[in-house]
């Protein structure tokens, strides 16, 4: 009989709409990060580094890039005869076919997958956090406390606690109560969305709660377990952890990587982060170019100047172009004589010559100010910006644009230019 002590279920089906146009063509876990990675590399690498070699990845929204990135799991050593990585999309059943309607519903629909490994414990992860964590230590904590549910938490500043799901614990870290986004938080331990369940407990809860619409861990399964009196503990994590769910947190997390010894260190030998790399030629830094305090991906050619930026693989930065405080993703081509300030440019975009991004006075975005803010200019993937255009702050461009789409070759701060359906 096949038996695995602990298997992981990685929730990677969400759209991540707060990342705006960055996720209009890809699921959030597949968004590029840190020059060569994709967000899902972090939980996947954590799994293999923690000795968890069986991972089900639940996909739903725009899974193509995620599927081709994961493949059979070779980069993470998850190509296994028994176990390894399995992509689990929603599937048609003889009765009651449905999409994944909630986090726990997605897990419920894959009971059979989990049962086939006869696990003692199931680790629930989400695919949108940047962190390094040894899940085995968390499992030891779970076992030592005879817990049935362990929730990873991290201390957050009290004034921010009302944005999170907050766990209230006793001195033994046993969870006595919890509150979702409380107005007056009684504790500062925020749930990280990482759970270890004893298999029997999880299985029973999922089956009992199966009829609940949009079955969700935080809203339904955890409260159910508490009602039932299952011992629940909070595992405190104090390392680097970043939810890159919003454009500004995504931008910040990238920028934090360019410190000499970043708080989140990708350079250490211990606990490597693995990713699928394209075969790329070496990078090329031309004469007269300047690169300062930046990450530059493989196969990137730099003819201009780059400061405080994260540049992906296979990018070209043209002659006379100056890039500052920006994130440029794989295969994007930037022409000559451009000026980029605090821009996020997604994959395979083409920026013409003498284009200026992030210029002028700041103004609130006209369509989605909760997404596009902090002065960041966002250009979606495969977008084209023609020669000589200038674009203001908090603005967004997506699609193949031509000079006719701009008034006087200019897009003012806070404006949204989306030519949907075209590539």
């Amino acid at each position: 009989m096949i038996k695995k002590e602990m298997i992981a279920m990685l929730l990677a089906g969400g759209q991540g709409s707060r990342l705006g146009v960055l996720t209009s063509k890809v699921a959030k876990p597949a968004v590029a990060f840190g020059g060569k990675y994709r967000i899902i590399d972090f939980p996947l690498s954590n799994c293999i580094n923690s000795g968890v070699d069986t991972v089900g990845v639940l996909t739903q929204y725009q899974p193509l890039r995620l599927n081709s990135h994961i493949g059979i799991g070779i980069p993470w050593d998850l190509d296994r005869n028994i176990g390894g990585v399995t992509v689990l999309p929603p599937y048609e059943k003889s009765t009651n076919s449905e999409w994944y309607t909630g986090t726990a519903n997605a897990i419920y629909q894959n009971l059979e997958y989990m049962e086939s490994y006869n696990p003692e414990y199931v680790l629930i992860l989400s695919g949108d956090h940047i962190y390094k964590m040894d899940y085995e230590v968390m499992l030891d904590f779970h076992k030592a406390n005879n817990a049935e549910v362990t929730i990873a938490v991290m201390p957050v500043p009290m004034e921010e606690a009302s944005r999170f799901g907050i766990m209230i614990t006793d001195e033994d870290k046993k969870i006595v109560d919890f509150e979702e986004k409380p107005a007056n938080p009684r504790s500062n331990l925020a749930s990280m969305g990482i759970y270890i369940f004893s298999w029997k407990t999880l299985r029973e809860a999922l089956i009992k709660m199966a009829e609940q619409p949009a079955l969700d861990f935080g809203k339904h399964v955890i409260p159910y377990c508490r009602e039932k009196g299952a011992p629940m503990y909070a595992y405190e994590f104090t390392g680097y952890w970043k939810d890159v769910g919003t454009l500004s947190s995504y931008w910040e997390a990238n920028m934090e990587l360019i410190d000499i010894v970043p708080e989140f260190n990708l350079y250490e030998e211990y606990w490597k982060i693995y990713t699928k790399s394209e075969i790329q030629p070496p990078q090329y830094i031309a004469a007269d170019s300047v690169v300062e305090r930046s990450i530059i991906g493989e196969g990137t050619d730099i003819y201009g100047e780059v400061y405080n930026s994260v540049i992906g693989c296979g990018v070209t930065i043209g002659k006379g172009t100056v890039v500052r405080d920006s994130i440029i993703m794989n295969q994007t081509q930037i022409g000559d004589g451009c000026e980029l300030n605090k821009a996020i440019i997604a994959e395979n975009a083409t920026i013409g010559n003498n284009v200026k991004l992030g210029v002028g006075e700041e103004a609130d975005n006209d369509t989605a100010p909760h997404i596009y803010n902090q002065g960041i200019v966002t250009i979606g993937e495969k977008s084209v910006v023609p020669n000589g255009i200038s674009i203001g702050k908090n603005s967004v461009v997506f699609g193949v644009t031509t000079a006719a789409d701009y008034e006087d070759s200019h897009l003012a701060s806070g404006k949204t230019l989306i030519k949907a359906g075209e590539e």
């Binding site: 030629p281 070496p282 990078q283």
Partner: protein, 265 residues
């Protein structure tokens, strides 16, 4: 492709001085990202050769580490693979590879157990791009016994450290000299050969019977009047890193946009 590949990665090269004291020449870094053997391996992979043997003996560890999996070059599916053969002690034999022909003789089983009709033999220290299918087409069209990839070297090249060839108007090789004191031509052999597998086995066995060990001296030069040996001229970029100077210049070449574009775009 209907050929298997053999990469001669054997030697140390005293002209590489300290650089290759601890590693095989074929494991020398090129252009920041690569090792020199990557070029020949990639050429074979891109030409759809599926089964490749690397014959090596000097400081093979550096090469072994680099060739730790066939998957990096996409060799080695259910059929085919990437093999690294170092000399082994058997009941009959306890010699090192005494030459390139001897290295193949000691691994004759590899040749005998294959079924592909042709063999592409190449040295592991060349930096170049070539489609071996084109060479094989040429080989068949010329009804050649052996095809040698040749190249006219630029003026000022130190021809004397290569093997030089002289071809007639049909491209048949009439003269072949190994490291001539005074070169009569500027056409050199790139150390890349195409030959029918059965013929190779036959010639290697004959060679071994006569206690001869070198592919160039004891096969190409010795048989040049009896066998139909043809030259296939390649015109594009080709360097081999046989000396410190070549090694330096080859790396520096990758700073030129035309060389980078030729290899990478």
């Amino acid at each position: 492709m209907r050929a298997i590949g053999i990469i001669l990665a054997g030697g140390n090269n005293h002209r590489m001085k300290e650089l290759s004291q601890k590693r095989a020449v074929c494991a020398m870094p090129i252009a920041g990202s690569y090792r020199s053997i990557d070029f020949t391996l990639s050429n074979m992979s891109n030409s759809h050769i599926q089964k490749v043997a690397v014959l090596t003996q000097y400081n093979a560890k550096s090469l072994n580490e680099h060739l730790n999996s066939s998957k990096w070059w996409d060799f080695g599916r259910k059929q085919g693979g990437l093999y690294v053969f170092t000399p082994v002690v058997t009941a009959e034999n306890s010699n090192w590879y005494r030459g390139t022909a001897d290295a193949m003789y000691q691994n004759l089983d590899f040749l005998k157990n294959s079924h592909e009709p042709y063999v592409v033999i190449a040295s592991g220290d060349g930096v170049y791009k070539i489609d071996f299918n084109k060479v094989l087409e040429y080989h068949i069209e010329k009804k050649a016994d052996i095809t040698v990839v040749c190249r006219d070297m630029e003026k000022g090249t130190n021809i004397e450290r290569f093997g030089t060839v002289k071809m007639n108007e049909e491209s048949r090789i009439e003269e072949f000299e190994e490291k001539p004191l005074q070169a009569k031509t500027n056409t050199i052999s790139c150390g890349i050969y195409v030959i029918r597998r059965r013929l190779l086995i036959e010639m290697i066995e004959k060679c071994a019977e006569e206690d001869r060990h070198d592919f160039v001296k004891d096969i190409l030069i010795r048989y040049k009047d009896i066998k139909r040996i043809f030259g296939y001229k390649m015109k594009d970029y080709w360097r081999n890193i046989a000396s410190v100077e070549d090694y330096y210049n080859t790396n520096m070449d990758f700073l030129k946009p035309e060389v980078r574009n030729y290899f990478f775009k």
